[in-house]
Symmetry: C2
Amino acid sequence: MDHVEKIIGHAEQQCKAHGVRLTVKRKQVLAGLIQSDKALSAYEIVDFCTRHYGQTMPAMSVYRILEFLEHEHLVHKLSLANKYVACAHISCGHAHAVPQFLICRQCSKVKEISIQPATIAELRQSVNEAGFKLVTTQLEMNCLCEGCIAQAA
Amino acid sequence: MDHVEKIIGHAEQQCKAHGVRLTVKRKQVLAGLIQSDKALSAYEIVDFCTRHYGQTMPAMSVYRILEFLEHEHLVHKLSLANKYVACAHISCGHAHAVPQFLICRQCSKVKEISIQPATIAELRQSVNEAGFKLVTTQLEMNCLCEGCIAQAA
DNA sequence: ACGACAAATGATATGTTGTAACATGCTACA
DNA sequence: TGTAGCATGTTACAACATATCATTTGTCGT
Ligand SMILES: [Zn+2]
Ligand SMILES: [Zn+2]
Ligand SMILES: [Zn+2]
Ligand SMILES: [Zn+2]
């Protein structure tokens, strides 16, 4: 049982606990994202599934499935990059806090982190002073990953 | 001379100083964004211009013009919302720092702020600890504006 | 003023991303 | 086994964005 399957197993447990089904197609999409180990656009997922599972995966299905997976917190949508990434904490057990995402501009690798609550509080404070209210503390930041930094040097 | 024209005047000065031209079409797009006082999608700008200036504005032109205006720091592209907003500091004179944007989910109003350097430093520190490097400190945050908060209450 | 060059815009086509609407198939449960 | 609800298939189209080449307009040296 490899790494990906183990995560899928956890995801399946989670879904069962919520009274929803992780169907074959949904597993395919999630597994694709996990295997890729980076953020993919919806159509990249279409291509991935079509190539790996021997039948064309309609874009419509991918969007529907992504919506489902996001709702189950198994996948995160990254608006900054218009891509989708598997949650990094599917196997952790603990319910995960609102995440922040570091997105490599170069290669779409994503790190899902939790910034210091104090820092978040300062951010929220700045927002409040401007008369706005934060709707979510999910942040997305344009970054370069370790690999791409090394490559650039 | 109204508020919008005054800002346009400043923009024109700025362009002249950079040896580039703020043409009629470019002024129309910029004025549209300023008047709207919120972020607009490229096609909303197309509609605005077509309605207000009596001839159809091709989408292609809008994209080209937005690219120009962004390059001149007169307009900012908001990836989080897939929209464009006029810079809030065109008339300020001082060269503006890397901004952070508070975007109202409800009505697309945008506040362009400058978060405490100390907070930014903490963010950068978190990113470095994760092995990534920030490419830009421009942040975009999902918010509700004053008006929409009041309305919701 | 004239011609040459570069910048800006027009026009058309096409690529990419995302949703609407309705048909069909599958699963769980009475 | 019927049936109700969920999931997927199919088709069409809307919204967002870029590529390419033609035409117009502004700039500058002569
Ligand atoms: Zn997560
Ligand atoms: Zn990278
Ligand atoms: Zn600005
Ligand atoms: Zn608002």
